[in-house]
């Protein structure tokens, strides 16, 4: 074995040890990040809250007098919320990107190279050196994976306290939307009672239609409430799972425990997203 080959072998041993220490499949982290981003990627619930006054004004009172319920200017609060949601979404995207494994896989090429060299009757190029060079390139990607995993862990640990505070704030805001929605629902219910009272006695068709409209409205408000509840549940789940990642990616053992739990949250996050989009589809 030449001096070059001995050096190469030692280098490979070091690189291999580095790689074995840090690499793991972080696809669960990527999926969690992507689903979380899909929850925080929409500010439509906040926009709905902002537009409460406008929405109520469109409901005609008996005698076509619009409902005037000033809410104060909600533009600033909505814009700030929109920024927070966008920030959390960007964070999740960056975390997902950092947990990505998109490095080139050159192992197959190296194997091919070895086969080609072995098939040759004679060549001026030192086959062992070419082959060893290929192996080094192949292994270089592994410590880079380890570095990437280390940086994912560092990012999660550093960002967690701030993310927790922001998610708690978004949950508090959702509580405000929920309280507002309950108020809006009562206004519409009282308005409908007045409308029904104004219906001439004996007009059963109008009475039937009004009651059906009221029942339909009631169902829509329930859907929106459920969407908001699902949003809050999703925010809590994101906060809890992100917190679990702070120590959950430290060793192979903790990774093996944490990643399945993360996958288990997948169904709940998808369900929450569906409920949210159903809530936003309701037109009142």
């Amino acid at each position: 074995m030449s001096q070059f080959e001995r050096r190469m072998r030692n280098l490979l041993i070091v690189i291999g040890a580095l790689a074995a220490a840090g690499c793991a499949d972080l696809s669960g982290v990527r999926e969690f990040a992507s689903l979380s981003a899909s929850i925080t990627g929409s500010s439509a619930l906040s926009a709905r809250w902002r537009d409460t006054q406008e929405r109520l004004a469109k409901i005609p009172l008996p005698g076509d007098v619009p409902i005037s319920v000033p809410t104060g200017d909600r533009t600033q609060a909505h814009e700030e919320t929109e920024k927070m949601l966008a920030l959390v979404t960007t964070y999740m995207e960056v975390m997902g990107e950092l947990a990505s494994d998109q490095l080139p896989r050159v192992d197959a090429q190296v194997s091919g190279l070895k086969a080609e060299l072995n098939a040759l009757p004679g060549t001026p190029v030192n086959r062992q050196r070419v082959e060893a060079f290929g192996v080094v390139v192949s292994l270089l990607s592994k410590p880079l994976d380890a570095y990437r995993h280390l940086k994912v862990r560092e990012l999660i640990a550093a960002a967690d306290p701030h993310l927790q505070a922001i998610l708690a704030g978004l949950e508090a805001l959702a509580g405000i939307y929920r309280a507002d929605l309950a108020t809006e629902r009562k206004i519409v219910k009282d308005w409908m009672a007045l409308h029904l009272a104004g219906t001439p006695a004996g007009n059963t068709a109008a009475d039937f239609l009004s009651r059906r409209y009221l029942s339909d409205l009631d169902r829509k408000y329930t859907e929106i409430e459920q969407g908001l509840d699902a949003y809050v549940k999703a925010l809590r789940l994101i906060a809890a799972k992100h917190e679990s990642l702070v120590n959950g990616l430290a060793t192979r053992q903790t990774i093996e425990r944490t990643l399945p739990q993360l996958k288990a949250a997948r169904r709940e996050l998808i369900e929450a997203r569906n409920r949210m989009s159903n809530a936003l589809a309701q037109r009142i």
Partner: protein, 133 residues
Amino acid sequence: MTTRADAADLLEQAKAFDEAADALSPKVNDAGTPLEDRKKLFQQSLSLRSEAFKLRTQAAENTTKELSVEVAALKAEIERAKKVLGSIAKVKAVIDVGTSLTKLAAAIATGQPAGIASALSALKTDVDRVQHG
């Protein structure tokens, strides 16, 4: 600087206005009360509900303001992570050059002109990528 307690106070006040409006609701819905009186009561309830809305608007504003420090801190972490991603991209590009070099070496070893030309072309692309970030 506002605090979460300020927002909580505002929400409590909003709740009180809502409860006052709720107290009017049975009369608005009472068929025995003349319609005009019911309409007046409804308008009164709207005024109370409006106060509740405004207080919650203020509470939401306070909540977002309170988080400005956390927002700035998370932004800084994101920027740091983006720099790491940039470094990884550079290393990845260097690995790509290494991969192309391996292919070129293989092509030279096998002595096929077409293979050498193709490997050289791939190498040039990867080197350009490294040079131009």
